[in-house]
Amino acid sequence: MQYALLFQQTPEEFAARRDPEKHAAFWAAFMPYMTALKEAGLVVAGAGLEPPATATSIRIGGSGRQVQDGPFADTKEQLAGFFIIEVPNLDVALDWASRYPGGPGGGVEVRPVAPPKPQQ
């Protein structure tokens, strides 16, 4: 079964990307995590995302479209990247999510990937 691991980061973690030392420390821990996932042969897809301030959102209202600067949901923690992994079940997906080396306040949302639309 495929699951999306959606990594959520705090504003502090996003800000740390501009601090060379903190950024290096994040990658020193994140690269081995990525390698472990790849070595286990689980990764279907994945990407890291630029900070939420770089986002542009289109909101569909009753009277038409509205374009806004910034992310869709105005929450403290924001999506920072994701992996889609192929694992036997949710328990294994949670094992891998728990190894995500993010800082306190952030975390990982684990969601099953919806199956393709059935053929009629």
């Binding site: 020193a28 821990a29 690269m31 081995p32 995590y33 990525m34 390698t35 472990a36 996932l37 070595e39 286990a40 949710l90 328990d91 949670l94 094992d95 728990s98 190894r99 080396p101």
Partner: protein, 405 residues
Amino acid sequence: MDTRRAVERAARDSYGRLVTFLAARSRDIAAAEDALADAFRAALETWPRDGVPARPEAWLLTAARRRMIDRARHVQVQAEAVPDLRIVAEEAEALAEADRFPDERLKLLFVCAHPAIDPAIHTPLMLQTVLGLDAARIASAFLVSPAAMGQRLSRAKVKIRDAGIGFELPEAKELPPRLDAVLEAIYAAYGSGWDDVAGADPRRRGLAAEAIDLGRMLRPLLPAEPEVEGLLALMLHCEARREARRSPDGDYVPLSEQDTARWSKPMITEAEHILSAAAQDRRFGRFQLEAAIQSVHAQRARTARTDWESIALLYQGLVRLAPTIGALVGQAAAVAEARGAAAGWTLMQAIPAEAVASYQPYWALAAHLLRRLGRPADAAYERATGLCEDPAMRAFLLRRWQERP
């Protein structure tokens, strides 16, 4: 406030005994737990008004069995269940009058770890039915979704009821394997999802205290079984070092570098006492061996050195008895200390690769040994770091990795 505390104390002390009593005949643990939950709710309402009863257990029992009968009437369960419930009610009446309430939780433990029940749910079932922990707490400790944990627990209870798994003690010839399953389940609660109990983050206590409670509870119920004492001694030895596993700054400290002054002397003394009581039976098992390994480590507090050769020999015995991945890796680590890194690495290479692909302690030891042998260790350090769940352990490995040999 005091009343709430009285209810909580009654819940902690009597939950498992009441569940066992209420479910023993119907085998319906879920119904017993529901009735008991109602009884506890009623206690929270009436005890503050009328005062805490002289015998809270008897009060709860009477209230719970009343609920069970009400509910049975309400849902009109199969006719044969009603006489059963009437007997339970009569017995409950008699017991409520008696001074002592029988402790039959051992039967409940054997039901929870019954061979017909999926081994993966043994521990959660025990924690819930014997200690009354809620599914969400158990789910977090075992890294399972709370919804899934709730479903698995209900399924297991349905199975116990419908398969007619008896609330009785196993016969003598069945006892060893059945007891093993109970002990395994308690030890799994102690580890709560950690591969490496000795390195576990001390702040994440998980269910360690609950597991030790279960071990203490089991000891007087099965006084003739040395493995029960072995398990309790093992858990107490590991628990004695909890504070020493991190430096005052929160950094991970490996066992061999721990400050023995921060080990709990009373817990070590208790563990040693229990382990020597077990040894008098001269029937050695997996848990006594594991406790003996921890006991050798504990001697460093007195002798300032670790007798790695003794530890290697104990692991050899453990591997013969229970060749788990954890035991194989532990043996390789001990042999590396006692007889050199090359001897340890030879043992590591004999472990099947597919068994250790995601087993973090294997990669941490591999990195350490390869570096000591002057061989490329980067890939092993990377894997050990990437598989870490614990931030302090990850930071420790990253530091070691960056130190050039």
